[in-house]
């Protein structure tokens, strides 16, 4: 086999092209989103797409920040994310630590107790009835408590705790340290990378959650951000369906009932804003975090 310089170069060029194109494919929706949120509504309606705002306008953002539902939604989502992430990581660490302590004989049975919930569930409706009976309905805890315990992250934490050097713990025991001291002074400080990864993914889970807000909030006067977005989508959908049935008659309602496109896009931008802003600082953690504890050996 003879290697041709040209062939090698073509191959390398193809690789770079594929990577660049796919990167653009991943980034393009975000770009178009930001551009349409910054474009004047009338221009957007006439021209639609454009790679650059033909008429720059911050009106959409002003509207969004004036509107009460979005601000309340922001507060709700922030509270749920901060409190939920904190409680979730603390509680999961407690369980994961018990599973990792070698002198605790029943840790295997306990692992199975948690593992079983990963492979079998009672299904949605019994879960819903249970939540209602527990009082997790129409209040802020309905958005927090159901997501606190995630078996997947409990096992990731346990695997990481298991991988810590046992000698340090043993010598601490000889020095008379209690389990509490070992956990807070040795295990947790050594586990910062996995704690950061877990907290990050749990926080994103809380921030992006709309499902509990849809199922478990009924008459409450607050909604998380994601549910506000979902409601806008649903009203667009309803109006489009009405239009499809009646012809153009519903056109008049449509402009009155759904926020204009630039406003919709601005709402999406402020919703994903915190993730995008924090992303550059945390991304080095999760690429490592996803492989931590997931590869045997």
């Amino acid at each position: 086999m003879r290697r041709s310089k040209l062939g090698e170069r073509l191959f390398a060029g193809a690789n770079y092209t594929v990577v660049t194109l796919f990167t653009v494919f991943c980034l393009l929706p975000f770009y178009l989103l930001v551009i349409s949120s910054l474009t004047d509504q009338k221009v957007l309606q006439l021209d639609g797409y454009s790679l650059w705002p033909r008429k720059f306008s911050l009106e959409a953002y002003k509207w969004v920040l004036r509107g009460k539902p979005v601000l309340v939604g922001y507060q709700v989502s922030t509270f749920v994310t901060v409190v939920g992430t904190f409680l979730s990581v603390v509680l999961m660490c407690g369980v994961a630590y018990a599973l990792s302590v070698k002198k605790f004989k029943f840790r295997n049975q306990l692992s199975f107790y948690i593992y079983f919930t990963m492979v079998f569930s009672g299904g949605l409706i019994p879960w819903f009835i249970t939540c209602r009976n527990l009082g997790l309905y129409d209040n802020i805890w309905a958005l927090i408590v159901p997501m606190l315990m995630n078996p997947w992250w409990i096992f990731i934490l346990r695997n990481y705790f298991n991988g810590l050097p046992g000698e340090i713990m043993e010598s601490a025991v000889i020095d008379g340290a209690s389990d509490w001291t070992i956990l807070t002074r040795i295990v947790l400080p050594l586990s910062m990378p996995v704690l950061a990864t877990t907290a990050l993914f749990v926080a994103v889970g809380y921030w992006n959650d709309w499902w509990h807000g849809v199922i478990l909030l009924d008459f409450a006067d607050f909604r998380p951000l994601q549910v506000i977005i979902l409601r806008i989508i649903n009203s667009i959908r309803a109006i489009r369906q009405a239009m499809a049935m009646e012809g153009g008659g519903a056109l008049a309602i449509s402009s009155a009932q759904i926020p204009a496109k630039s406003i919709r896009m601005a709402i999406v931008v402020v919703t994903i804003g915190p993730i995008i802003l924090l992303y550059p600082f945390v991304q080095r953690y999760f690429i490592k975090g996803l492989t931590v504890g997931s590869v045997k050996g």
């Binding site: 191959f11 990577v19 796919f22 919930t117 977005i229 499809a244 919709r264």
Partner: protein
């Protein structure tokens, strides 16, 4: 994949003498007492798991009951009536078929995209470009489906969608994407690729990074091109990971990506023929109908089938990896 401890069988003391049994209980309590601090730390979490995961498991009795809100889990018993109703309904075939078709598309296309991207990224020599590309590809993973659904309206909406505007400006007719069920398996698969390729290729890249560089050097000496090295060294070495992850995904084939479908399709009945899956059907039942019994029966059937699939695929992974002298199984 995740290493889970094999559950060891609990020694049951039922067959031994009463004295031994008492000492067994005493030993058990003693063990709990010695580790009371650890248990205390774990207790809140364990109680939550019991309340939110195990209590609903007992709630599957609803599948055999004529559910009433007043009587809750203790409604009148109707035996298998709910299942008879379920298996007689034409909807069942549709939701099962859609769940399997969509998941198969996601598994096949998603795996090809992730493996391909890992192989190509692995060829990028510049570390900075490679890191940047990887970070950007990972970004969609963090977007909620509601956000994606809203962006999608920006593209495909009949009135103001970018795609329709573009089509009109080049002289084509406007097209109502949201009324064409046949297009959606394709659109949803593209979305799946957009959202998961960046995260999916991480594991494959980890494998590629671990390959012994001597293999490539030897191939280099033998005159293999980069393409041949990718094709005959990198790709074959990824196969075990591909098989493993695919089998694990097959284990979850009865669970639809309902977050995606509920946010994107929602109540748009025009798209149900191709996009209505088991999970979305159950949620709709919860919101619109009062027949909790039948919906629970759907959920129970899904859980049981899912359980069989998870164990089946795990068993295959175990047998297959044992032959290779490794253990990739989950449990």
């Amino acid at each position: 994949m995740m290493q889970l401890t094999k559950p060891t069988s609990t020694p049951t003391a039922s067959l031994v003498s009463a004295a031994r049994e008492r000492s067994g209980v005493a030993r058990f309590l003693g063990e709990l007492h010695r580790n009371r601090l650890i248990l205390l730390l774990a207790l809140p979490g364990l109680v939550l798991i019991f309340l939110l995961k195990y209590v609903p498991m007992f709630g599957i009795v609803v599948a055999f009951e004529d559910f009433r809100a007043q009587t809750g889990f203790f409604s009148p018993w109707v035996g298998l009536d709910n299942f008879r109703l379920l298996f007689g309904s034409p909807v069942l075939w549709r939701i099962v078929r859609n769940t399997i078709i969509l998941n198969t598309l996601f598994i096949v296309v998603g795996t090809i995209a992730a493996v391909g991207m890992a192989l190509v990224l692995n060829e990028i020599a510049q570390p900075l470009l490679r890191k940047l590309a990887q970070s950007i590809m990972f970004l969609p993973f963090f977007m909620g489906w509601t956000v994606v659904a809203m962006m999608l309206y920006g593209f495909f909406d009949y009135q103001s969608g970018m795609v329709n505007n573009l089509m009109q400006s080049i002289g084509l007719e406007r097209f109502s994407f949201y009324e064409q069920p046949n297009l959606w398996p394709g659109i949803l698969t593209a979305l799946h690729v957009w959202k998961t390729t960046g995260s999916g290729c991480i594991l494959y890249l980890a494998v590629l990074v671990g390959i012994d560089t001597q293999l490539y050097e030897a191939a280099e000496i033998d005159g293999a091109s980069r393409w041949q090295q990718m094709r005959f060294i990198s790709l074959p070495l990824l196969v075990p990971t591909v098989i493993l992850l695919t089998l694990l995904a097959i284990g979850r084939i009865f669970y639809g990506d309902f977050g995606m479908l509920y946010a994107i399709v929602g109540s748009n009945a025009l798209l149900y023929p191709t996009t209505d899956v088991i999970d979305t059907y159950i949620i709709r039942a919860l919101q619109t109908t009062t027949n909790f019994g039948m919906s629970t029966a759907v959920g129970l059937s899904q859980s049981v089938l899912g359980f069989i699939c998870v164990f089946g695929s795990n068993w295959i992974v175990k047998k297959w990896s044992e032959r290779r002298g490794e253990d990739y199984s989950l449990f």
